[in-house]
Assembly symmetry: C2
Homo-oligomer: 369 residues x 2
């Protein structure tokens, strides 16, 4: 089957890497000539936000999917009308692309998400400080999102259509990856716990299973089941969650694709999110997601102050650790905060896992030559 992927980044790369177990042909579309998928697929350089480019790329494919949600949805709708299968459905991509539609979707389906207001300018604000501003379109990896804590912060308010959201008093950030195939079969991954680096606003550590009580798990399960019931599209989705200090779970955002919070599934679960995504695309029986051990992930991001040809310090030392797996993304150039790879590790207990993760974090450095 000819499978086209919009975006040629690391998510696409790891997806294709896993899917080489099967007999498909992969095509990727990305604006960057040295995208991680460049050498391992039929690569087309181009802008997946451009209607004509996307239609030209997609028209001869059997199936189209995404590894980034900021794509031209109108083009996807055109392609769908031409008979190209698109997973997930253009409608759910559109809903998630636009923060306003996303919030309305949660509201409509009684999926708990923080209290919010839709505004186009500061003048319309009617929400108590502190709050989060999320611009309606174009936010990604923490961009287009800011926290407004004080009256002074209000000066940096972006004057454009946005969702403003009450700040959750966060105890933990959690994530659950869920999947649904065309036949309607569904499967969820065990809940993971994320620990973010506040400066970069990028995922940093990732631990699975999350250390939360049954009551919390049951709230998460209810959210996952509700979402899978109402989503009306095959796909793999990452539901990003906040657990507040009172024990209540809120949906922060949902990504309609593979997600950084699921990377530890490559070795920590019976099957990874990448395998599950493949099975969704092919409408195969969904894969079992059992935990094989305590698993965790450290992101490898470019260190501050270094730009240029990447050099990893400490890789050899990390490779000496048992059950530790390095995943680099084939990126030649590092810049501060750029996601260059990640390291997964397994352990027999959470304590051992945290020790290993800290050690890895200490050992490894992503610098320039």
């Amino acid at each position: 089957m000819k499978i086209g992927i919009l975006g040629g980044g690391q998510l696409g790369r790891m997806f294709i890497q896993n899917a080489l177990k099967y007999d498909d042909e992969f095509y990727t579309l990305d604006p960057s000539i040295d995208a991680p998928c460049h050498n391992i697929s039929h690569f087309v350089q181009g802008d997946f936000n451009d209607y004509d480019t996307l239609v030209a790329f997609g028209r001869d494919k059997d199936l189209l999917t995404i590894e980034i949600e900021h794509v031209n949805v109108q083009a996807l709708e055109t392609l769908e009308n031409m008979g190209v299968k698109v997973i997930p459905c253009p409608m759910i991509i559109k809903t998630i692309q636009q923060k306003i539609l996303q919030k309305k979707f949660y509201q409509e389906h009684h999926i708990p998400s923080p209290h919010f207001q839709i505004v186009a300018s500061r003048a319309e604000l009617n929400l108590a400080l502190p709050f989060v501003q999320k611009i309606n379109m174009g936010g990604y990896d923490g961009k287009g999102v800011q926290i407004i804590r004080t009256e002074k912060d209000l000066e940096k308010f972006w004057e454009e259509p946005s969702v403003v959201e009450s700040l959750v008093d966060i105890e933990k950030e959690l994530s659950v990856i869920v999947a649904r195939n065309e036949s309607g079969e569904t499967m969820t991954f065990p809940v993971t716990e994320m620990i973010a680096d506040p400066e970069l606003n990028l995922l940093d550590f990732n631990i699975c299973p999350a250390s939360v009580d049954k009551e919390v798990l049951s709230q998460i399960d209810a959210i996952a089941q509700k979402f899978l019931e109402v989503v009306d599209s095959p796909g793999l989705f990452a539901i990003e969650l906040f657990l507040d200090k009172k024990g209540k779970v809120w949906v922060n955002e949902i990504a309609p694709r593979l997600h950084n919070s699921g990377h530890q599934s490559q070795e920590g679960n019976a099957n990874s999110q990448f395998e599950q995504m493949y099975r969704v695309l092919k409408n195969m029986p969904l894969a079992d997601t059992d935990i094989t051990a305590y698993s965790g992930m450290v992101n490898l991001v470019g260190a501050a102050g270094f730009t240029g040809k990447v050099k990893y310090n400490g890789l050899q030392q990390v490779l000496k650790l048992p059950k530790t797996y390095i995943h680099l993304y084939g990126k030649q150039q590092t810049t501060p905060g750029r996601k260059m790879g990640h390291i997964n590790t397994l352990a027999d207990s959470r304590e051992e896992l945290v020790e290993k993760l800290k050690k890895i974090k200490e050992i490894i450095e992503v610098r320039a030559e």
Copy 2:
């Protein structure tokens, strides 16, 4: 690093698939334009047995390795002299290519292998029936090997330089995969047990760990350690073994490369043979090879009577089995006996494993459209 691989078959494909976790560039040389590595590496169509072709392919690489041992060794020696790193060393490839040198190597190093005679013609024969004839060069996947049981069988004796070997009264066929890096570090995989289909003479089932007693394991360990001590080359090697009915272990053959008997390591061990091979090439710390479960493999070979575009029956049903992993090789055309892929499965006990393997074997069929 620019890594060249001689051969673009499934072993190369799975090697590259795993190595996409790192940042190298892969180049493959294979006579077949639709070789499994074609679309996932810089592919050169050409004959790795041709001196000029191999030198031209290898001269600008940082490192060369093999996924098949029937390559032009003289060209590898030339490349080595030009400063290209070749792993494993040309000398050990040459020793293994030539069955006569291989047997002498075992004899010299007191590695137990069946009693043999070197002959160029039937007239020189001085070995009791039954015996195995192995032609000196060019044998592969059971070709160039025949069993001579009776006086009548002697009529089909190949009149060319050969090793003739006393037939071992085989209780079990076993295999151990061993690795050595340039720094001299060594690592062995747990012993696997093979069950062959006598008609095709291709590996059929593969079970790990092997069900053998401590005394047998200790003989195997002695063989592995002795080989790693004397081999004088970095590399990953598959030692194919016979356990006879009296409990003695004999070396059948050694392959200087990735091997079908190690495929279950993809999910059955903390790290696979493919990861270990990568670490050998890069002189990295060798990977831990701990068993994660009872693991087994079924080869998917083209069914008799079917030639043409491949069609797998039963894949969907196999995918419903927990902890079961399909690995196809990207081959479009099936012929009787062609290795098209394999299926790995994990279990909590040997009994459960054998049941699963039998079930898979029953379900799956490799036919033509």
